[in-house]
Symmetry: C2
Subunit: 322 residues, 2 copies
């Protein structure tokens, strides 16, 4: 009997990670891919447990995402949220009806005492996915954004206030008491390679690293760790990452990303536009791989995934042709 | 300053009560009508608090009900429930999306510690109603139906198993610990008249009477109490009432209804079809009013309401022309 294949592990936030993962599963058997998902964006909306990063990844890989909007389900309706408005509920978080069904199922199962990781497995299976999505932890972990006006929940900062506040820092509430969800440490230990998706380092990846045991496992694993820079030409392709770098007094560039992941990541994949930054990064001891990182379509997503795998030393020849 | 008008109080279950109330508010100022609603049918569906009797009354009076189906909202969609099915949830309770929004709002407010009566007031107001709907109690009170196979929740008996089980009795779980919601006893005490809607005596009205203090208040009030028989020609116009009478070894007729309400009700309104039963009822001391009780349309609903008011001794001349 063959030993189970060593997994390809991807640390993932939301939209950027979801698109990157589309590339990954187009060049690698998806049943060998384990996504370790951020849960710092999780929140309660209308009393429902929303897991935006888990869901955007699941919906995207299931081919059901509303790609134009960047979240939620394609052709979803909004009857529930519109009716809630009638009762005076704040409806700045526009949860579609089918998306709400996912959250209602999750909430109901959580109240019945099931862990988020087990519920996520049911959802992923129901959506027809054969990759594994693991929330980094089953414990409540919430990213709070420190702003001049006080701490905001991530969704307040991101959706309600449209990332307009200056960011002074992050606080990962509950992280110190959290422990990795079942399978997370094992995946990191056994991984053939670990890829950090082009997600926001501060609010997508750092909350994963904030769970006690994760950073240590990443440092201890024999697997190569490759990150894809979410900053290209000084700007984030999506979301507030570049603004956060600047707001936190850091360099909003691939070099800033390299500095952020220093000591954790062996290779950083940067965009060809940022080629000139390689000379500044390499002396820190981090390897640099240069490719086109802007994921315009399926072809570019697959190419980026291949580049990341190559940067992890996985020979392209081994990759199944698809 | 005028004293507030003495209210017209209606004890109400679901569909039959909702239709009767349409008649009542067509002949009496709705802001002077107080509905005391059964909550024994309340249940948790998908983790949401469903109050079927409150909602059917509110939706019906707001002109939003799906009259053909007898519950839920007209033109509602079912995206949430269909998506839940995908995750393996049992979906025998087909809650429409907009209907679900009402339940989600209620659940969220209950979890925030607000009482059902206050939440019901917000919902009724949002739906544009100016009558008052009071749940008989803010405490959990659940009707369990005793069957040869064991106790069933009311919705299991009614929706899932389509009233097919033999009924041996009812148990009103939580009733002994319940107390009337704010305003309920006051309404009964101050009422100009109390009408018992043509609802199922066993599962719509009895759970109201099971709340300690209600029966005593009804016996003590100076207001006349008039019930409308839900049984016509030996059959219930809607639902399992007649079957329950027989199953419980009682007479499924207006006379059976009279016996059930003996000692509480001064006048029973029965259908002209049941005219011959009046002679059997009157010797028990209960007055009988005979009219057409089948509510085919707005005209019959108004006529039935007028007949009930007249039976309560409220001169028709006082009724505002509408």
């Amino acid at each position: 009997m063959d030993a189970p294949a060593r997994p390809l592990v991807v640390l993932a936030g939301g939209v950027g990670a979801a698109r990157f993962l589309q590339g990954v599963v187009s060049v690698w058997p998806s049943e060998q891919v384990i996504v370790i998902s951020n849960v710092g964006d999780d929140t309660e909306i209308y009393g429902l447990h929303v897991s935006p990063d888990i869901d955007i990844v699941a919906y995207t890989l299931a081919g059901m995402v509303d790609a134009a909007k960047g979240f939620g389900l394609l052709h979803d309706s909004f009857d529930v949220v519109e009716s809630l408005a009638r009762y005076g509920e704040e409806t700045w978080f526009r949860l579609g009806d089918r998306d709400l069904a996912t959250c209602l199922f999750r909430t109901n199962q959580l109240r019945a005492g099931r862990p988020l990781s087990a519920i996520t497995a049911v959802i992923a299976h129901a959506l027809g996915l054969d990759l594994t999505i693991l929330p980094v932890t089953d414990a409540p972990l919430r990213t709070l954004v420190e702003t001049p006006g006080g701490r905001l929940s991530f969704q307040e900062y991101f959706v309600k206030r449209r990332t307009e506040d200056e960011v002074l820092g992050m606080h990962f509430e509950g992280a110190a008491q959290a422990s990795p969800a079942p399978g997370v440490l094992d995946a990191i230990e056994r991984a053939r390679a670990i890829l950090i998706a082009p997600s926001n380092p501060f609010v997508s990846i750092d909350p994963i690293l904030a769970v006690p045991g994760i950073r240590e496992a990443l440092i201890a694993t024999a697997a190569p760790i490759v990150a894809v820079s979410p900053i290209v030409g000084g700007e984030a392709l999506k979301g507030p990452a570049a603004k956060m770098f600047r707001s936190l007094g850091k360099e909003a560039s691939a070099a800033g990303v390299a500095a952020h992941y220093h000591g954790l990541v062996q290779t950083l994949v940067i965009d060809a536009l940022d080629r000139s930054l390689a000379a500044a990064i390499r002396p820190t001891g981090m390897r640099v791989a240069i490719t086109d990182t802007i994921m315009r379509g399926p072809r570019q997503k697959a190419d980026l995934a291949r580049a990341a795998l190559e940067a992890a030393g996985i020979p392209t020849l081994l990759q199944p042709a698809r």
